[in-house]
């Protein structure tokens, strides 16, 4: 017994010593430069003692800008931050895609330098964070995808606002419903039951989709409404784009909605839609940008608005902006300046990366408004720089 006790106490002491020893080793690890900095124009001279005092350059990665929020634009933002490190190595971005809700909370509490949200802030949220700006960065298109074995080889299905909402309300239950047949006279529509698939996780994609259905259907607006998650009248929930796509592709007769990029990359059958102008449109970067441009001159003071059901003759009707949230008056001048510089870069040169990843860059009229807003950003009341 006492021998056992002694061994255990020795073990405990060893653990304690190891625990105490750890911090002393930490600085040794830190002397190795982080991997990202190796490609920067390395100011290694600054480390050597020189007699002539030069204006010391800002060491790489010394300005850390933290952000948090929406997961929808996360692939694009992380690409932007990666590429921007080659352009301005002094600034290092750290973005956590914790969801729009978390992003709004954190920027309201000022625990991050910028937030990101797919949803437009409510009046209460604006009131809780006075002086906050919503800056659209890109938009995303949402597309209905379907899997009907009889239609595999045929031309893409056409749906209009009322059939789509009726399907998702559970009122149209078979593929050969007269409403669908009238829109697709040339398709061999089967009498199969329609299986509706929706996102189960709260997401900006769902917000955009339900925003559209609310805009085009009174019944949807009054019985279901719009939000990042809603009470679906019918259907199965899949987690994430991959969950929806998985259930759709495994069930003959299923229809769901996913982001345009995901549908294209996975070669899902994408339905065409009859838009507000009465034309049949196909989802693409161009048609989504048309929708943004349609509303571009009607942006309200907060630079945020819904762009579903756009009136243009060649506009894709189911789309939405994603926003960056920053304070009009920055408290840290160095960070504020770098953040604004980055945003200007992201909206100009960065837009090529957006298109690579199937995000839709801002049309010119919206972009100019964002630039004008960036010009007004101040630091502790004084203009930046």
């Amino acid at each position: 017994m006492s021998a056992l006790g002694r061994w255990l106490s020795i073990a405990a002491l060893v653990l304690l010593l190891v625990g105490c020893g750890a911090p002393t080793q930490a600085p040794a690890i830190q002397t190795q430069p982080p991997a990202e900095q190796t490609r920067a124009p390395a100011p290694t001279k600054a480390a050597l003692p020189t007699l002539t005092p030069e204006p010391t350059p800002i060491p790489p990665g010394s300005i850390q800008i933290n952000g948090a929020g929406a997961s929808f634009p996360f692939p694009l933002y992380s690409r932007w931050f990666y590429e921007y490190a080659f352009i301005d190595p002094t600034v290092k971005f750290n973005y956590q895609s914790i969801g729009s809700g978390g992003g709004i909370k954190q920027i309201t509490a000022r625990t991050v330098d910028f937030g990101a949200s797919d949803a437009i802030l409510t009046e209460e949220q604006f009131a809780a964070a006075p002086g906050i700006l919503m800056l659209p960065t890109v938009a995303g298109a949402v597309v209905p995808v379907y899997n009907v074995s009889e239609l595999k080889e045929a031309e893409p299905l056409v749906l209009d606002a009322s059939t789509l909402s009726q399907i998702f309300l559970g009122k149209i239950t078979r593929w050969n419903d007269p409403a669908i047949a009238a829109l697709n006279p040339n398709l061999p529509l089967p009498a199969k039951e329609i299986l509706v698939v929706h996102r189960s996780d709260g997401s900006g994609t769902t917000f955009i989709f339900t925003d559209y259905l609310s805009a085009v259907s009174d019944e949807w607006r009054n019985t279901v409404g719009k939000g990042t998650s809603v009470e679906w009248p019918v259907g199965l929930g899949g987690k994430g784009n991959e969950g929806v796509a998985g259930v759709v592709s495994q069930n003959d007769g299923a229809i769901g909605y996913v982001e345009l990029a995901y549908a294209k990359q996975n070669k899902l059958s994408i339905a065409r839609l009859v838009n507000a102008a009465g034309n049949i449109v196909q989802a693409s970067i161009e048609t989504t940008q048309n929708a943004m441009a349609d509303y571009g001159d009607e942006m309200p003071g907060i630079l945020a608005r819904s762009i579903v059901n756009a009136p243009g003759k060649d506009s894709w009707p189911i789309a939405g902006y994603t926003y960056l949230l920053i304070y009009m008056d920055q408290s840290d001048c160095a960070k504020g300046k770098k953040l604004v510089q980055f945003l200007r870069w992201a909206l100009t040169e960065g837009s090529t990366y957006a298109e690579h990843l199937e995000y839709v860059p801002l049309p010119e009229n919206v972009r100019q408004q964002v630039f004008a807003r960036l010009d007004q950003v101040t630091c502790n009341g004084a203009p930046l720089r």
Partner: protein
């Protein structure tokens, strides 16, 4: 002991040296600290969940656990019944499927398998327990459901469809899919622990039974299982704990639908799933509080089930002890 040392007026470093050399005191203090930290952690979690669900508790009271509407968008009405039901159904079915299989694996590895086979198979079983749950989820969604669950569901629906338990229609993602994936996930835990339980049973028990003319089956069923029952129950509880709280894998295969039927073939929803699904993008305070209240219920449910199971183990343990002595 400490006061004795002060009376003798030994230098402080000697006291320290003696205390450290002796080891009992610091060890005891360390262990008490570790123990208190655990208790404190449980209490803090409970308190945080309670405090952060205040809005929802005030708005819905007891109705929260007996109503089934979950509408975060329009009416902001929340009820947890479908999730409560889904968690219980999937966990229980998972255990029903998994316990016989994993006990069998445990018995096989400990009693039946030839020596050279025990190690590799035991290793494989333990490897199954180390597979991350998101991998189970992806595998379930893209391989297991289309190749196994859907045909099984169709078959059950065709043959036993008159029972409410096997009502159609069948889609794939369902309570059945979640239960089966859970069963696979909890099996390694139950199998590994029950194998250890069987191996810990003294050989004298086996020899005595065989000497009395019992077959191997009789030895296992009448001697070894009763002897190891408390340990086996413990193994099942470990499995149940994992089944109740499993989140990502279940979310990916359960269908996420507020269906209140008891059909295993219908899509369902679980408490862990709704939190995983909606917490990140919940911007509305009441919605957040409702989700946290679900967390609170899940926390309490786990505590209650574990306490009941613990009592069961104690009861069985005492009975076996009495039988052994008597």
């Amino acid at each position: 002991m400490g006061s004795q040392m002060v009376h003798k007026r030994v230098p402080a470093f000697r006291v320290l040296g003696r205390v450290l050399h002796h080891g009992d005191r610091p060890f005891q203090a360390l262990m008490v600290l570790a123990c208190l930290a655990t208790v404190g952690l449980v209490a803090t979690i409970g308190w945080a969940l309670w405090r952060n669900s205040a809005l929802s508790r005030a708005a819905f009271g007891w109705h929260f656990v007996v109503t089934s509407r979950w509408d975060p968008a329009l009416d902001r009405t929340f009820g947890a019944l479908p999730f409560l039901q889904g968690t219980l159904i999937t966990s229980v079915v998972a255990l029903l499927v998994s316990v016989p299989i994993s006990l069998g694996v445990g018995i096989f590895l400990s009693e039946v398998a030839p020596e050279w086979l025990r190690r590799p198979i035991g290793f494989l079983v333990e490897l199954l327990a180390a597979v991350p749950s998101v991998v189970y989820g992806l595998w379930g969604l893209f391989a297991f459901i289309p190749s196994f669950v859907k045909p099984l569901a169709n078959f059950l629906n065709r043959t036993l469809g008159f029972l409410p338990l096997f009502e159609g229609p069948t889609f794939g993602p369902s309570r059945l899919a979640a239960s089966l994936v859970l069963a696979i996930m909890v099996s390694p835990t139950i199998a590994a622990v029950s194998r250890d339980v069987f191996q810990a049973i003294p050989d004298a028990q086996r020899e005595a039974s065989l000497a009395l003319g019992a077959t191997q089956w009789e030895t296992i069923s009448r001697v070894l299982i009763p002897y190891g029952l408390p340990g086996l129950l413990g193994a099942v509880i470990l499995g149940l704990g994992r089944a109740l709280g499993e989140t990502i894998a279940v979310t990916m295969v359960v269908g996420n639908n507020l269906d209140l039927s008891i059909s295993l073939l219908h899509p369902g929803y679980t408490m862990a799933s709704i939190i995983a699904n909606e917490f990140a993008e919940a911007t509305d305070e009441l919605h957040l509080h409702a989700l946290i209240e679900i967390g609170l219920i899940l926390f309490l449910l786990t505590l209650i089930i574990n306490s009941i199971a613990r009592l069961l183990v104690w009861g069985v343990g005492r009975r076996t002890m009495r039988e052994r002595e008597g």
